[in-house]
Amino acid sequence: MSSSKTRRSDSRRTPLLLMVLAGLGLGLFVVPLVGLIGRVPWTDLPQLLGSDVVLDALRLSLVASVAATAIAVILGIPLAWMLARVDFPGRSLVRGIVILPLVLPPVVGGAALLFALGRSGLVGEPLYQATGLLLPFSTWGVIVATTFVSMPFMVITIEGALSGLDERYEGAAASLGARRWTVLRRVTLPMIGPSIVSGLVLTWARAFGEFGATITFAGNLQGRTQTLPLAVFVSLESDRDAAVAISLLMVAVSLVVLVGLRDRWWRSL
């Protein structure tokens, strides 16, 4: 009769099937990394990474990803606030449009940006005539394309946090004499602080890896629009060793940022 009973330790053991599937899933991430690291030309690495092409691309990638993240904070948080808190007509349509870049192929996004903001585009033409500013094939174009694909991460993260926040806290702050701006600064934003950090990390990570929209809209000019992913793409054709070196650089920068932030701020993510 004891055979029908499960031993206590058995019931706590992780199911084997679960472990196998989880291992396969992990393998999908680890194998390419191993493949990449196995191909690294270690002796030539300093020289490859020290080239002008790589340094220009690194600088541009950092500038564009940080700028896109900053714009996502300035424009994306108010947009998230509108979606979460203001009941305006067509709100779900607006939400759909904001999320669209997440599912749209980046090349299509880049093409759409070109038609709208290019020299003869709907907005681009009057902009060019008025100011002489031409977004395509400029660093500004890289920033616009990068922001386009990465800002939705900020908006959906913050919108979720604001929707989950108990608005009565803001009422309590108002009853204590806090005006709207003070409520936002001292109650609302601090209370969604962890989500803001998550949004920053996701947005930056997406911006740093951005490729399709950038190459379509801004082109591939060294020093002006060629970011690290574009440099990898070009090098794959001409210089495999350089492509591997740049890829390694991107993996390293991403890991440093993600792991570094993780321990400090976004443990909960």
Binding site: R168, A172, G177, A178, R180, V187
Partner: protein
């Protein structure tokens, strides 16, 4: 300084608030009603978090909300202290910063705000807790912080939304005493909402019973207890409520002794006996009830099929019976009767 609030406010298809409240300075008024009666909505409207549909809210003659004359003063300009249900302490701020929040928002210099807040934490018995986060406070402590936070900016009116209902029994009596003390010290009008008759009876000078957004009865605790006007008020407020002293399973109420089912309680206690838990006999009852005594019928009131009876000394109780039983026993004022209460039907809580 007094509050005048007479307004209508539709919250949903099924709930329209229609109230008329007037609270003089230094008076505590309780709105007593079930969940969903619109109590929190009334607090939100008076606090300035919701706009009324019609009517007028004025504090000390200053109009705060009057749609007819297009006046609406926002919450941040009202100077009304609110102790919210479940306190709503800001989780990202320390206890001290929570208390100082109102002063800082109104422009008090930092050092001054922190000193006054520290002083208030001491007054509510929380010295040494200023660096704690709300998550690390017990319910009773959080309630004290919420009270200090509401009072530190010297508001013109104090609103309390279910101030004790989230507390466990142990914290309730000590917090109630502290609350009572601070309510008495507060110079302005005080409005408390609650679904707990005990809270209302103990803390309020005047009680308004509220049902579906409307006040159905107003009066003192005694008015309500002895002369409930609706069946709901009878259920809500009809409990017999006595103060006594417990010693080893016996509670002394005045000269009278009641046997209770708890031997672990000693000292001052509050005793509640539901009107339906009291049995009435025309002759001395035999059997298990631990408490029986002779008395006379003082009054008989009919509320439809139910009858509420008041008995004379030694313990004046409200008793609820069916109309049929009343007639059968021939219960009329002056009739000599015996009452019986089982020890297990007597509610008891410490009152220190």
């Amino acid at each position: 300084m007094s509050l005048e609030a007479k307004f209508r406010l539709r919250r949903s298809a099924s709930l329209e608030i229609d109230v008329d409240l007037s609270i003089p300075p230094r008076a505590t008024v309780a709105l007593l009603g079930p969940n969903g009666a619109g109590k929190s909505t009334i607090v939100a409207a008076i606090a300035g978090l919701l706009e009324i549909d019609s009517g007028r809210i004025a504090l000390d003659g200053r109009v705060l909300d009057e749609p007819a004359s297009d006046v609406f003063i926002g919450a941040e300009h009202r100077n009304i202290g609110v102790v919210f249900q479940d306190y709503l302490l800001f989780p990202h701020l320390t206890t001290l910063e929570n208390v100082a929040f109102g002063l800082r928002s109104r422009g008090t210099p930092r050092d001054d705000a922190l000193n006054r807040s520290l002083d208030w934490l001491r007054r509510v018995g929380l010295d040494g807790m200023e660096e704690r986060r709300p998550d690390d406070l017990s319910g009773g402590e959080a309630q004290r912080v919420a009270l200090a936070r509401a009072l530190v900016s010297e508001p013109d009116l104090l609103l309390l939304d279910e101030p004790l209902s989230a507390l466990d029994v142990a914290a309730r009596s000590s917090t109630r005493h502290l609350l009572q003390q601070h309510l008495e010290a507060f110079e302005g009008p005080r409005l408390m909402i609650t679904h707990d008759p005990t809270e209302a009876f103990l803390l309020a000078d005047e009680i308004h019973v509220i049902e579906s957004g409307r006040i159905t009865q107003s009066g003192t605790a005694d008015d309500l207890r002895l002369r409930p006007l609706t069946p709901y008020a009878a259920d809500l407020a009809g409990a017999n409520f006595l103060r006594g002293r417990a010693v080893e399973g016996v509670v002394e109420v005045g000269e009278h002794q009641l046997r209770v089912a708890r031997e672990d309680v000693a000292g001052p206690v509050l005793v509640t006996i539901a009107p339906t838990a009291v049995a009435v006999h025309t002759t001395r009852p035999t059997g298990s009830p631990r408490n029986t005594w002779a008395t006379t019928v003082a009054a008989v009131e009919r509320l439809g099929p139910r009858v509420r009876l008041r008995t004379d000394g030694p313990l004046q109780l409200t008793v609820e019976l069916t109309a049929a039983a009343t007639d059968e026993l021939g219960l009329v004022p002056g009739k000599e009767i015996w009452v019986a209460v089982k020890a297990t039907e007597i509610g008891i809580q410490t009152d220190n």
